[in-house]
């Protein structure tokens, strides 16, 4: 095949959503296989590896993020239905949920406050701009929710999306070990902590540990999305930022 034809094929494919959708799935499958191969080493988190692979490909082919997202948006879109789908594992845990609702509610409110305030304060102490601080505030909740809150309080939604993913990876990588050091071994408690801190990425990790931990992580993620939407704009005003 002559080079000019290859060039034309590339131009055509690069402009269609099919190419970047396929590449996203391939990168994730590759990252996931690597994760499995290394005995599920948390340091090789599949999201982190897939993101690194994709950025390498995009930089090498000189492709803009907007072009990439034309294709990848189909994957991104599924975050919504996946959030709704969390009702199913929750339903399976309804017995424990009814018993533990009060400790869960208290833990979620504390977690949402600690997540937002500790991020904003430590960023402020190290000289971050106000925009960055506000983008950090909702970083512990799932991407579509966090981006909405960030926009409302004066942060940068697209920066928040990145911080959300980074927080998810950090929590997924450190969560089980850190909670083990603290002597927390109950799957319901570990799950809530994982979900409140690291939303869907933490929940994906929790499902690998046990279905119970996954279900409670899903619950923690859902409740903290709700609590963050209510509390973070208010916390930001209390700290005298944005509005």
């Amino acid at each position: 095949m002559p080079v000019t034809d290859l060039g034309r094929i590339w131009v055509y494919l690069a402009a269609s959503p099919l190419l970047w959708l396929s590449v996203t799935l391939l990168a994730y499958l590759l990252a996931h296989a690597l994760y499995r191969r290394t005995g599920e080493n948390p340091l090789l988190n599949p999201v982190a590896v897939a993101v690194a692979l994709l950025i390498a490909v995009l930089v090498a082919t000189d492709t803009a993020y907007a072009t990439y997202f034309e294709g990848a948006q189909f994957v991104h879109f599924l975050l919504g239905p996946a959030t709704v789908a969390l009702a199913v594992p929750l339903y399976r845990q309804r017995g424990r949920l009814r018993r533990l609702w009060l400790p869960i509610a208290a833990a979620v409110v504390v977690g949402v406050g600690v997540a937002a305030v500790s991020a904003m304060v430590s960023a402020h102490l190290l000289g971050a701009s106000v925009e960055t601080m506000l983008s950090l505030a909702p970083k512990s909740v799932t991407a579509p929710v966090a981006m909405g809150i960030s926009e409302k309080i004066g942060g940068l939604p697209s920066l928040t999306a990145v911080l959300v993913v980074a927080t998810g990876i950090l929590g997924a990588v450190t969560g089980t070990r850190l909670l083990g050091w603290c002597g927390v071994r109950d799957d319901a408690i570990r799950g809530i902590a994982m979900g409140v801190t690291s939303h869907g990425i933490g929940t994906a990790r929790a499902f690998q540990v046990s279905p119970t931990m996954g279900a409670f992580s899903g619950l923690g993620m859902a409740l903290s999305a709700f609590a963050t939407a209510l509390l973070v704009p208010w916390l930001v005003r209390m700290l005298g930022l944005g509005g």
Partner: protein
């Protein structure tokens, strides 16, 4: 499977619509989840319909965050200038939140005498 997928999408749609209509402070998909949970409790048949698509979506939940994560390439300038505060804020806040949530919940379980909250580490 198709019925289940349709249900998930319709509940999200209902959630988004209600949030917009009543100016509710919570995100549409979260309200959709709460509505679906209510339906599952009331109707056993909805459980059978949504089980398979829910498993498919949740089985690879982390894949869905990849496109947002790639967005880091748009923010290289800001991340370059403010990498230290951002990195410290993320690490400090993630570790503190994990511990704060777990210890709060464990303490509440003990106070309320709900037992079996923790089997080890006492």
């Amino acid at each position: 499977m198709l019925v289940g997928i349709t249900l998930l999408l319709c509940y999200q749609l209902a959630g988004e619509a209600l949030v917009l209509a009543f100016g509710l402070p919570l995100p549409g998909p979260v309200l959709g989840m709460l509505l679906l949970l209510l339906t599952l409790v009331l109707r056993e048949s909805a459980v059978l319909a949504t089980e398979a698509p829910a498993e498919a979506l949740l089985g690879h939940l982390s894949l869905l965050f990849v496109p947002a994560g790639v967005g880091v390439m748009v923010h290289t300038q800001r991340l370059g200038g403010e990498w230290l505060p951002i990195a410290v804020a993320l690490v400090v806040s993630t570790l503190l939140t994990l511990v704060a949530v777990a210890l709060t919940m464990r303490q509440m379980v003990r106070w309320l005498g709900l037992g079996a909250g923790d089997h080890a580490g006492d």
